[in-house]
């Protein structure tokens, strides 16, 4: 290979590394990660209290109490009759929602064990800028005829570091889990679904009020133990349900932001691919030794004459 070709290859490799670095640094802005990643972090925090088996079991137990009452309670008011009529559909829907949440607990744990979401954009920006800076400095040094082998070594280390990052953070296992969780939550995290759950709360609450203030007082409450228990437990049940509905409601937009990001399972590869490329380019860009280069030049001149 001629000296010119060697120079072109070296500079081409460094320019490619510079472009990859700048691309990596620009990726968060391109994907809107500076706003979406914190939104994802906020959602994780809001859902953390509910993504536990014990909490979901508590909700199921509360629904069973309401269900037992719906099957037992005497009708007689519009609110109670409406609740008894709607309860099977409400129970099915809530059960499906809780099943989805329970099935995604492991995925949730994996995602929530990742570094704080607010830092995510910087995992691209900082290595990207470092790679671009090292490649740029090597280009300048090369143009000025100064040695830059240390910069090349640093570039290779950066590349290997970027490759290693997803493994260090166990992203190969956690990111696909996050992708599955996002798919599962997509039907839950809509304004329509949240409004439905709000309506369930109103239907149950209105019935409880009528049962407590007008229906049960007209009967022998001892004949309706499930209904009596529902009325007794309702303040605590509503105390549990209300914040969960709030968490769903408050995170509809946050979820939409996360859902608009590239698929989670791709994220490890956003590090691996540029990391491999930068490492390869660092090796490709190695300087030829001056004495060897001079020898090659001499042979080329001799051959030409």
């Amino acid at each position: 290979m001629s000296v010119d070709a060697s120079n072109r290859r070296r500079r081409g490799a460094l320019i490619a590394a510079l472009v990859i670095g700048l691309g990596l640094a620009a990726a968060p802005a391109a994907f809107g990660m500076f706003s979406r990643a914190p939104a994802g972090g906020s959602m994780i925090e809001d859902f953390r209290p509910y993504m536990r088996e014990s909490k979901i079991a508590d909700f199921r137990a509360e629904l069973e109490v309401i269900g037992a009452a719906a099957g037992e309670a005497p009708g007689g008011t519009a609110a109670v009759d409406d609740w008894k009529r709607q309860w099977p559909a409400i129970d099915d829907d809530m059960d499906e929602m809780l099943t989805t949440m329970r099935d995604d607990i492991d995925e949730f744990r994996g995602v929530s064990a990742l570094p704080p979401f607010v830092l995510f954009p910087w995992f691209f920006v900082l290595p990207g800028l470092l790679i671009a800076g090292l490649a740029g400095a090597a280009l300048v040094a090369d143009r000025r005829g100064r040695p830059w082998s240390r910069l090349r070594v640093a570039l290779a280390i950066m590349g290997i570091g970027v490759i290693a990052a997803p493994a260090i953070f166990q992203m190969f296992g956690r990111a696909p889990g996050g992708a599955r969780m996002i798919d599962d939550f997509r039907p839950l995290m809509t304004t329509e679904r949240v409004t439905s759950v709000q309506q369930y709360f109103l239907v149950i609450g209105a019935a409880e009020g009528d049962l407590r203030t007008s229906v049960l007082p007209r009967t022998n409450a001892a004949e309706f133990p499930a209904t009596t228990r529902f009325v007794r437990d309702w303040p605590e049940t509503s105390h549990d349900m209300a914040p969960m509905i709030g968490a769903m409601s408050d995170n509809v937009d946050n979820f939409a932001g996360i859902d608009a990001l590239p698929p989670f399972w791709l994220f490890p590869w956003f590090f691996v691919v540029p990391g491999v490329l930068v490492t390869v380019l660092a090796f490709v860009s190695r300087e030829r030794r001056p004495d060897r280069a001079r020898a090659v030049q001499l042979i080329e001149r001799t051959a030409a004459s």
């Binding site: 609110a79 949240v194 409004t195 709000q198 309506q199 709360f201 109103l202 609450g205 209105a206 019935a207 409880e208 009020g209 009528d210 407590r212 203030t213 309702w234 303040p235 605590e236 509503s238 105390h239 349900m241 209300a242 914040p243 509905i245 709030g246 409601s249 408050d250």
Partner: protein, 237 residues
Amino acid sequence: MSGRRRSMPLVAIALVALAASACGDDDSTSSTGDGTPLAGVLTIEAGQCTDAAVTAGSSFRMVQPGGTVKDGPFVVNGDSPCGDKTWTPLRPGTDGGLRLGAYQPQQANPFDATGNAVSKAIAEPQKWFAVAFGLATNERDPQTNKKTRLPTVVADGEKLSGDLSALAASWNGQHFNQGAPKPGGSMPGATSAVTGTYDKSTGAYELTWTSQIVGGPFNNFTGVWRLSGVVNEEDAT
């Protein structure tokens, strides 16, 4: 030229100050219109529902998402003593009502062990879905964490306007700003300005506003408030 250069920093500082005053956190000054600010306590006349609805006095209703203040649908409060349970009558609290020009803040822990609100200065806590809600006016809104303005009502002849951005309802471990405008001055969704009437000779007033809930379990529900009673100026701070 040099004079112009010297004046540039001053212009820049003035612009920054102007921008900061436009964008900054709210202060405690009122932005209500012309007129005479009322002082004292807007006493709350207890709501009466001799008929189905609250026919006199003070009340609260809540419009469901997608509904209208005129036609509802309204949330049914099973604890309402009214025949039409979409109405919840309000009763005066320990201060007799809503104090103007000063906050009536909630306690550090505004709930009892079962989630009932304990704020009782403005209005007596009322049961709503089995759990009592309370009212307070707070310098920093507990739901949005934004700074609010002092409660202000201004009389322009017989017409009232006001700023009740500090008003918050607490219920079941949750906080809901129920002011108009909202802290920061916005009027989201079905939120409408505080309006009312005032008879200076008797001190009788009636005040209405609506406030759409933003966030939380009742996101997009709208509180419809009506306070009536007399202005107790002797209790001015």
